[in-house]
Amino acid sequence: MTAFAIRCAGLVKRYDDVVAVDGLDLEVRRGECFGLLGPNGAGKTTTIEILEGLTEADEGDVEVLGAHWSRDGRALRERLGISLQETQLADKLTVEETLLLFRSFYRKGRDPEELLATLSLGEKRHSRVGKLSGGQRQRLAVACALAGEPELLFLDEPTTGLDPQSRRDLWEQVERFQAGGGTVLLTTHYMDEAERLCDRVAIVDHGKRIALGTPEELIAQLHATNVVEFATEPRLPEALLTALPGVSEVHADGDGWALGVRTLAETVPALLAAVDAASARLLTLATHRATLEDLFVAKTGRRLRDA
């Protein structure tokens, strides 16, 4: 048994004249939760669907759980749990009926009763899928993905559109699956999700991997622990900001600036003094701990959300 749940190298997928995936390499170790982080249209879904055996790559090698789609497709499907982006299960079936249907596709698997309880869907067992809330629906999608007791779980944008409580519930499920020895590959465009769940993250943009590592390693690449975002009238020149004490990065951010800083206590008073000295008026000022989003901004000059 190889130490890797997924290995792919030189993955390329073109649609007409668009290159969706452009020479991607990935190695996901067994037992880890791996995140593909990137803006919409970065090629995350195409990549995960190639790994799931739903889309064929134009170039590159894919190995999943030591097997290859071309040779062991059906046997491989028995070992995977998949939740696609935007799948709508049949509205007219109940939760229980849907779960039994999915369970019937697998030779071995989890007890549907126990799955319903685990995913807190017990009370909803006789409800039609069409009547469920977004969070309940997503939990059912995960229950269907877990029905075959998979070794590897694929989740494509699992919490997009969910309320905060539903997102936390789902994260808990992923952690529980991982604690039971499972491997997870998920895609997301939420940095907080990647930071909370993923052991390692690959940031992708335009079908290419632009960063790889643990969330901590990636944030450390910024050489900054905090970010100061501000805007002034008139706008301060970049050279002035670079010269401020403790500033390691300066990025234009809309009408204002985003500064990567070592400590707030060192930089913020100096910044305020500089604003005063330039006779400028401070319009907005905010600070936050550095996140993967700041890394994405640093690497691409764009934010994840509007990229």
Binding site: R77, E86, K92
Partner: protein, 345 residues
Amino acid sequence: MRRPFPALGELTLARLREFLREPEALFWVFAFPVLLALALGLAFRGKAPERIPVGVADGPGAAAIATTLGRSPALLPRVYADSTGREALRTGKISLLVEDDGGLVYRYDPTRPDARAARLEVDDALQRAAGRIDPLRPRETRSTEPGSRYIDFLVPGLLGLNLMGTGMWGLGFSIVTARTRKLLKRLAATPMRRSEYLLSQMLARLVFLVFEVAVLVGFGWLAFGVEVRGSLGALALVSLLGAASFAGLGLLVSSRTKTVEGVSGLMNLVMLPMWLLSGTFFSWERFPEAVHPFIRALPLTALNDALRAVMTEGRPLSALGLELGVLALTGTVSFLVAVRVFRWQ
């Protein structure tokens, strides 16, 4: 909670449930054909033949002609002044207009069956009144017993039409909806055998079939005394083959279509010619002989003919080789092509 059945069973069950929880679908499958049979059965029910309305243009001898025509049991004459007679003829209020411009003139549209009948009846009545003696006087026996009425012709046709419609819509809509909702893609991501999914769609279809046939045939029998002269087994087999054939065709039509609008268009394209040509409401033999081979190759023609042969003529299956062959071939070829070209995402 119960243990899950094998995948084919769960898939078929899921499809059955979806259908039963869709009231609109239930209406189209069960209520609509019964309502149609009821309406048409009442419209064409067996009653005394109606008199054909004819007109006489006003003139010197008009009243006498009208009286003569009035003696015929088949005619309902009326005198029209000036141009109102031609107006009545043009708008179809009368089937024929008798004019007198020095000699008698029959004005009528020979392409209309009722007008041709009127021409014969009017001419007969006037000739006999003028002193014609017919050399032959055959007796008439009217045949309106069950088995030869319009409703007897209609019920098997409606059954065929219904099997076609429900087979194609039933499969087409559910498959294309599942495709647009990415449910097909999700299923394809499981170890489910893809042929089992397609098979389950056809199987679920065949379960409804039993009720569909029973409802329509039962209604025809109770309401209009339409009998099944052949064996019920033969009727069941023909219905089964017909339903399977159209389920296959429905599968084929929906095998690659991405939108419900798209599949609706395709369905109509396939079904409309058969609605018209396949002898549901009137015999296809009325079409020019040159197109008969084409019409007979249509699966609905084969199904209608086979159903009529069993229901009204009481013929055995062994006499229906061509019809059963057309159905079997259509179903098998469609299914095999559909499985090959089917788009899961």
